[in-house]
């Protein structure tokens, strides 16, 4: 198992550009999550998905979009990049819902994004 994979590892964007951060998991997990981690801060949930075709907003969804057409993939789209989106982005997955308190999340290695 590769676990949770993310691409790219690093990216520099200009203001106004768009890009898609890729995330894939091969553990047949139902739940997938996108977080951002700003320097000196904890992780904040951007979007999550409870299964293919179902997504919902987290704490900080503005400026992002997601889709979940398959169980394996959960891409995060930035349409008009802004300097405030400079951050490290982590994708995670879990088999069960965290509200069950019986499962944990598996994290990808992260994508470091800089918007200039």
């Amino acid at each position: 198992n590769a676990g949770v994979t993310q691409t790219p590892k690093f990216r520099i964007l200009k203001i106004g550009q768009s890009m898609t951060l890729q995330c894939a998991q091969d553990m047949n997990h139902n739940y997938m999550y996108w977080y951002r981690q700003d320097p000196g801060m904890g992780l904040k949930l951007i979007y999550y998905s409870v299964g293919a075709g179902i997504t919902d907003k987290g704490e900080v969804p503005n400026g992002y979009n997601v889709s979940r057409s398959t169980t394996e993939d959960f891409p995060l789209r930035l349409e008009l990049a802004a300097p405030s989106q400079t951050s490290v982005y982590f994708c995670a997955s879990s088999y069960g819902g965290l509200a069950d308190n019986t499962d944990t999340q598996y994290f990808g290695p992260g994508t470091r994004l800089t918007v200039l």
Binding site: V4, Y31, Y33, Y35, G40, M41, G42, L43, K44, L45, Y48, V50, D56, G58, E59, F90, A92, G97, L98, A99, N101, T104, Q105, Y106, F107, G108, P109, G110
Partner: protein
């Protein structure tokens, strides 16, 4: 909104020393997770606590959840350079939802 505060924010200890990291919630916790993040990498799950008064250990790391379920501590015994990294606590935002919050993290450095 529910928040998780961690203390201290950073910690430098000599190898072999014991240390404790705290995670305090503004509301009752319905579960508390501890993670370790190595610099520049993703998070690695350490352990999960659910019940008030629960204590779990893995190798030299022990985590406890207090009876009131609003504070957890992570204790490392006889620290080693391999323990260095950022420790984060995380918790479901509210019982019955799939949202999740994290503490701001504690950066640990262990001097050899």
């Amino acid at each position: 909104s529910q928040e998780l505060e961690q203390s201290p924010q950073s910690l430098i200890v000599q190898e072999g020393k014991n240390l404790t990291i705290n995670c305090t919630s503004s509301k009752t916790l319905y579960g508390l997770y501890w993670y370790k993040q190595k610099y520049g990498e993703g998070l690695i799950f350490l352990m999960m606590l659910q019940k008030g008064g629960e204590e779990k250990s893995h190798e030299k790391i022990t985590a406890k959840l207090d009876e009131k379920k609003q504070q957890s501590s992570l204790h490392i015994t006889a620290s080693q350079p391999s323990h260095a990294g950022i420790y984060l606590c995380g918790a479901p935002y509210l019982s019955g939802t799939y949202k999740y919050i994290f503490g701001t993290g504690t950066r640990l450095k262990v001097l050899a």
